[in-house]
């Protein structure tokens, strides 16, 4: 049997050291936070302060280098939790006596940074749009529209969010809706679309978006190369009838 020389042992030890070091540094990741600013101006006598901006700036998302972000299983679990959270929020938003303020509070409490815009006037209808700046992982483009009716009552006309594309995204969204809403028989069902009546006023539908569905959205930015298969869950006021009543073709 050939003997292993000390030279080979040293080489082996060095290689092991390299492998160990690379594993160690890859786990640490890179902090996105910029800390510290140097004092450069002579005109003032300000003592430099270390200033740490909030890590969750607008439209921010988890650092891609973190190990949690790289682990697909952990990412999927986070996305599913987000799907459950948002489905539950939609269900609560359309419960009797639910208010827009409660929805805003819930979004704020989950760190999603809600904000609203307002157009129209009391004479012809005021429309308030509610969106968020910092969505939960795996979801995005939360969008709600509230109207103020003749009696001054504020009510939701539309509320939706999107869930990330994936081989099981549509099924997962349907499951989340089933878990959080009291759903009967679907009134319309296809491979990429399903709809239920919630009551006399509202429907819940889930749509797996095709490239055509991603076109010309006035609120949301899409990349057709990446976003086909995005799943949207929406609750909105009815316009058409049920499928069997539908428009003549």
């Amino acid at each position: 049997m050939r003997k292993i020389s000390s030279k080979h042992l040293l080489l082996l030890a060095f290689l092991l050291l390299l492998i160990g070091a690379s594993l160690l540094f890859s786990k640490k990741g890179v902090s996105p936070v910029v800390s510290g600013k140097k004092s450069t101006t002579a005109a003032t006598q300000v003592q430099a302060l270390t200033m740490v901006e909030s890590a969750r700036t607008s439209f921010d998302s988890p650092t891609p280098n973190s190990s949690a972000a790289q682990d697909p299983t952990a990412k999927e679990r986070r996305a599913q939790r987000s799907l459950e959270t948002m489905s539950r929020l939609l269900a609560k938003a359309f419960a009797p006596n639910a208010t827009m303020e409660q929805v805003i509070q819930e979004l704020a409490a989950t760190g999603q940074k809600p904000f609203t815009t307002r157009t129209g006037d009391p004479a012809a209808g005021r429309l308030t749009i509610l969106r968020t700046k910092s969505p939960l992982p795996g979801t995005r483009y939360f969008h709600a529209q509230y109207f103020t009716d003749e009696q001054g009552k504020v009510f939701p006309q539309h509320m939706s969010f999107e869930f990330k594309p994936g081989p099981r995204s549509m099924q997962e969204a349907v499951q989340a809706a089933t878990n959080n809403f009291r759903l009967g028989q679907a009134t319309e069902q296809k491979s990429d679309f399903i709809q239920w009546n919630l009551d006399d006023d509202y429907v819940l539908w889930i749509k797996k978006k095709s490239a055509i569905d991603l076109e010309d959205d006035p609120f949301n930015a899409y990349d057709p190369a990446k976003d086909v298969g995005t799943v949207q869950m929406s609750v909105e006021m009815k316009i058409h009838g049920d499928a069997h009543e539908g428009h003549e073709h």
Binding site: V34, K37, S39, T40, T41, A43, T44, Q45, V46, L49, M51, T57, S58, F59, S61, K75, E101, I104, T116, T117, R118, T119, G120, D121, P122, A123, G125, L127, I129, R140, H143, F147, D149, E150, Q151, G152, F155, Q157, H158, E188, K190, K207, D216, D217, P218, F219, N220, A221, M237, K238, I239, H240, G241, D242, A243, E245, G246, H247, E248, H249
Partner: protein
């Protein structure tokens, strides 16, 4: 509440006009805006609690030192502060920052913001009586009050008598209040248009100010008048001391506007360079605060919801590139390369990615910026890149006005010429699609009042079957009430109020935006309002879902509680559509 305050203010003003000739008086409330005052008396003060920070000698800033002396923030020159004598120390005044200059450029150091507290050197503080405050756009909370009363851009000066500031002593409900009295000037008036009492605890109106010396303010006001007076306004001439520090006049910034310019990589946003008055007063119109409040009364008929006010922005949900210059660099993912240049007021959509960062920081010229990823929906080809976040704003928040684009008008409808006064006018109206519908809108599920959900609901519209993507047009001149919003199964709607008050909802449009179709925009008969869409369930053909309302009711068109799920002035559009179809296409269904 606002209606009541208007009635009260008018009644008060009528009384006032008989009894004395002085300017009307109001107090400012952070939650209620301008509130008419009565039963107050004037009393001189030894000193007003407001000062202007203007560093003498060394530079353009001073230090706001924390109470423990361990840290400090930079206070920009000509910031407005409130003092607290009780907490002051030798050589140092206890202050709270009330307003910061809107023309401040990015600083290397942490900068004091409104409501920060600390100590400033006594010799850095100047008497407010030597300055005039120009009220700028305001915060989200105060902007609606300032805009509706057209007080944005007015000039405020401490009321003085024998060089002493004046206060209003008012009692209400058993409590006495002392308000600091200000004279308010507008560009086309030589005399104050009002006097406003300020409670030192309710000062959000001053959060966005530009502070001028008295001489500077006179020149700025004169520059906005058609016939400026030869002499200074008597009331703006101060007998007190003139600031000793020579600082760059805001007038230099206003006068030296570049005509057409490409912005540097990341321009400093000098909001003072932008058009200062977003709503200039018509020449010759006497602007008084009561007429302003009266004019705006129809727009603000509801209570301010204090909890909602902070985050609600009066704007379409549309982001624009908000810069003074003509273009701004759009960068690639590394932020190192410039992909193309965005134009001023170009529409952008902030991106929310699934697994990538949508915000990153970069230092340019020793200033750190946050860049966000955006899409330019009006561009073909490469249309996603990175912009500095501070230049991406909601349209309603951008002080740089958007230039009106030429509207697209399909064809002049062949209808009797004449003014359309209401829906029943002989010359009303045009048909909302450019060609006759493919199927009758008077029968089947397309007709008005067709049963839905086994008759539990009724169809509130006529459905006009046409071609996906084809244009829909305005039936009459009017004004957009609500621009494109999500309507049903991936389609959109917008609402236009037409002559005589009747309202039309154009529903089941695609999301493709048409220029000049935002809320508040005027439209012409036949103007393109959108494009006919198709619901995403695949159930139905492309159609324009067309609703009509007489305009005799208030509130949103959609509502719950009746079979139509609509406002109670909903009308059957069938006979009107038949008339318009016959006028335009020669015959009808």
């Amino acid at each position: 509440m606002s209606g009541l305050s208007t009635v009260l203010s008018l009644a008060f003003l009528l009384t006032l006009s008989v009894s004395e000739a002085s300017s009307p008086r109001y107090s400012w409330s952070d939650t209620k805006g301008f509130v008419p005052l009565e039963g107050c008396r004037i009393a001189p003060l030894s000193e007003a609690p407001f000062k202007v920070m203007e560093a003498v000698g060394t530079g353009l800033a001073a230090n706001l030192i924390s109470s423990d002396g361990r840290s400090s923030l930079v206070v920009e020159n000509r910031s407005l502060v409130k003092t607290n004598k009780a907490l002051s120390k030798p050589g140092l005044e206890a202050v709270q920052i009330v307003g910061v200059p809107t023309s401040a450029s990015p600083n290397h150091h942490p900068t004091a913001k409104v409501r920060n507290q600390g100590y400033l050197a006594t010799n850095a503080l100047q008497d407010l009586g030597n300055y005039v405050l120009e009220i700028k756009a305001g915060t989200p909370q105060t902007r609606k009050w300032l805009t509706s009363s057209r007080m944005t851009g007015t000039f405020w000066q401490l009321s003085l008598e024998n060089d002493r500031p004046l206060s209003l002593l008012c009692s209400s409900g058993g409590t006495a209040k002392s308000l600091i009295l200000f004279d308010v000037y507008a560009a086309n008036q030589q005399e104050p248009i009002a006097q406003v009492g300020i409670d030192p605890k309710q000062i959000s109106i001053f959060e966005k100010v530009q502070i001028h010396s008295v001489d500077e303010a006179d020149q700025v006001l004169d520059s906005r008048m058609e016939n400026p007076p030869e002499n200074h306004r008597q009331s703006l001439v101060a007998g007190g001391k003139v600031p000793t520090v020579s600082v760059s006049s805001p007038l230099e910034t206003i006068r030296n506007l570049p005509t057409k310019k490409e912005a540097p990589e990341v321009p400093a946003l000098k909001l003072s360079d932008a058009k200062v008055e977003t709503k200039p007063v018509a020449a010759g119109k006497e602007q008084t605060i009561e007429s302003i409040i009266e004019d705006s009364e129809s727009d603000s008929g509801e209570e301010v919801d204090e909890e909602e006010a902070e985050e609600t922005i009066d704007s379409d949900m549309e982001y624009v590139v908000c810069i003074n210059e003509d273009t701004l660099a759009v960068r690639d993912d590394s932020l190192e390369e410039i992909l193309f240049r965005a134009e001023r007021n170009e529409t952008v959509l902030p991106v929310q990615s699934w697994d990538e960062k949508d915000a990153q920081k970069k230092t340019i010229d020793e200033t750190e910026y946050t860049f966000i990823k955006v899409k330019f929906p009006e561009r073909n080809g490469k249309n996603i890149g990175w912009l500095a976040q501070e230049y991406v704003r909601l349209e309603g928040q951008c002080p740089v006005p958007k230039a009106e684009k030429e509207e697209e008008q399909i064809s002049t409808p062949v209808i009797p010429q004449g003014v359309i006064k209401n829906i029943n006018s002989a010359s009303c109206c045009g048909f909302p699609t450019v060609k006759r519908p493919n199927q009758s809108y008077l029968t089947g599920m397309r007709r008005f009042k067709a049963g839905r959900s086994k008759g539990r609901r009724l169809h509130a519209a006529c459905d006009l079957y046409r071609v996906h993507g084809e244009t829909a047009v305005s039936v009459a001149p009017g004004k957009v009430v609500n621009g494109l919003y999500k309507f049903y199964q991936g389609t959109y709607a917008l609402e236009i109020q037409h002559p005589g008050g009747f309202v039309a909802r154009y529903g089941e449009l695609t999301g493709k935006k048409v220029s000049n179709m935002g809320a508040g925009k005027n439209v012409k008969l036949g103007q393109v309002v959108g494009h006919i869409g198709t619901v995403n369930s695949g159930c139905c053909k492309p159609m324009l879902h067309f609703e009509l309302y007489s305009g005799t009711k208030k509130g949103s068109l959609s509502r719950k509680g009746n079979k139509f799920q609509r406002r109670t002035d909903l009308i059957d559009p069938s006979s009107h559509l038949r008339k318009w179809e016959k006028l335009e296409f020669g015959s009808g269904y």
